[in-house]
Symmetry: C2
Subunit: 217 residues, 2 copies
């Protein structure tokens, strides 16, 4: 699959590297290609020669699947830069959380309760098939879940389009996830985004991000 990964941070790099390793054609999207190249991108790119870099719009244009790995605060802006036409009809795997660091750590959420970032993105891009997933665990576990309890823990997919959720669930299974729970429509993203306050406190308690929840049933 041709995959555009929007965002050059830890999450974007983790997803891009893993997807390329699995044989996908991956282009990372960034707001400013020159600025990204001028940062620590070169080192990372040297060890990931099959991953391309382009502006958000160029990366998105030729893709079949788009991954939103930007920060929650910047997601709508990055997706606008990617372009509504370029995103139309495509599956968008949205990993971002609407974290607000304005009052320090732990952050609060800037969207919650009767709305979610996933829903905001879906409303802003009605022709795009948004699937919220992977926002409930750390980047390294998103892409290498088997390192923890041989993958015996859960992830979720939330979205209005069954085929889009199937596409994302298959990618997650390729990553190594063994328990992908389809929560239902995109409004269920509220629940997975609102898991963050508990996740952040567990992170503080356990001193590592290498943990996840399992839905025991």
């Amino acid at each position: 699959m041709r995959i555009a990964v929007l965002g050059t941070g830890m999450v974007g790099r983790a997803i891009a590297a893993r997807a390329a390793e699995l044989g996908h054609e991956v282009t990372v999207g960034t707001r400013d290609v020159a600025a990204t190249r001028a940062g620590d991108w070169a080192d990372w790119a040297a060890s990931h020669p099959r991953v391309g870099l382009a502006g958000h719009a160029d990366a998105t244009r030729g893709s079949e699947l788009v991954v939103n790995a930007t920060s929650g605060a910047g997601s709508l802006t990055a997706l606008a830069a990617a372009g509504e036409e370029n995103l139309a009809g495509k599956v968008l795997l949205d990993i971002a959380n609407p974290l607000d660091f304005g009052n320090g750590f732990p952050p609060t959420l800037s969207v919650l309760n009767d709305d979610s970032l996933g829903e905001r993105i879906q409303r802003a891009f009605p022709r795009t098939r948004v699937v919220k997933a992977l926002n409930t665990l750390t980047a390294d576990l998103m892409t290498h879940p088997r390192q923890l309890a041989d993958g015996d823990h859960s992830v979720f997919v939330c979205g209005d389009d069954p085929d889009a959720k199937k596409t994302v669930a298959e990618l997650l299974a390729d990553f190594g996830h063994t328990d992908v729970i389809d929560l239902s429509d995109i409004t269920t993203a509220r629940g997975t985004e609102m898991l963050l306050p508990l996740w952040l406190r567990l992170y503080g308690k356990l001193g590592t991000g290498i943990f996840n929840i399992k839905v025991v049933r």
Copy 2:
């Protein structure tokens, strides 16, 4: 231990029955004893002859541990009826969630993000040692956790007083819980209360409340 369980609903009855079964001296507190007796209480009481019934204040006065098993919307009122003096110095196990059913199902939360019901109760009753716990699972699993995966799932304690958390954790262990995670101070109740939106969607998806999360680490 002499335990007051405030609230005559499913949660209150489950906790009262289990605590009495374990040999504790249990009194259920209610707003209106006559009204409770006039309802379906008599049937339940007949099969739980060791559990007493009294007004909130009378139940609380003689107790060593108080359990808030009232609805989130009514908790502060019920605790005010229990009496600040009667609650002073005592451990209060707070199970309530601030659910708002004003817009139908699933409910939203009326307190969240930078506050929690647990914190509100702690602020309203500063001499009481509030421990938030058991608000993340269904009543029957609170009290009989071994029925699911032989108890291989997690519960949390949140509170400012280490001794109070120890008391509650011991009670939870007596109930059969095998993984009681001390999240830290009472502000961590935000995380466990904000788990409810995910819990409610999983409940809808799974068609049963007999599930729980396990923190895999």
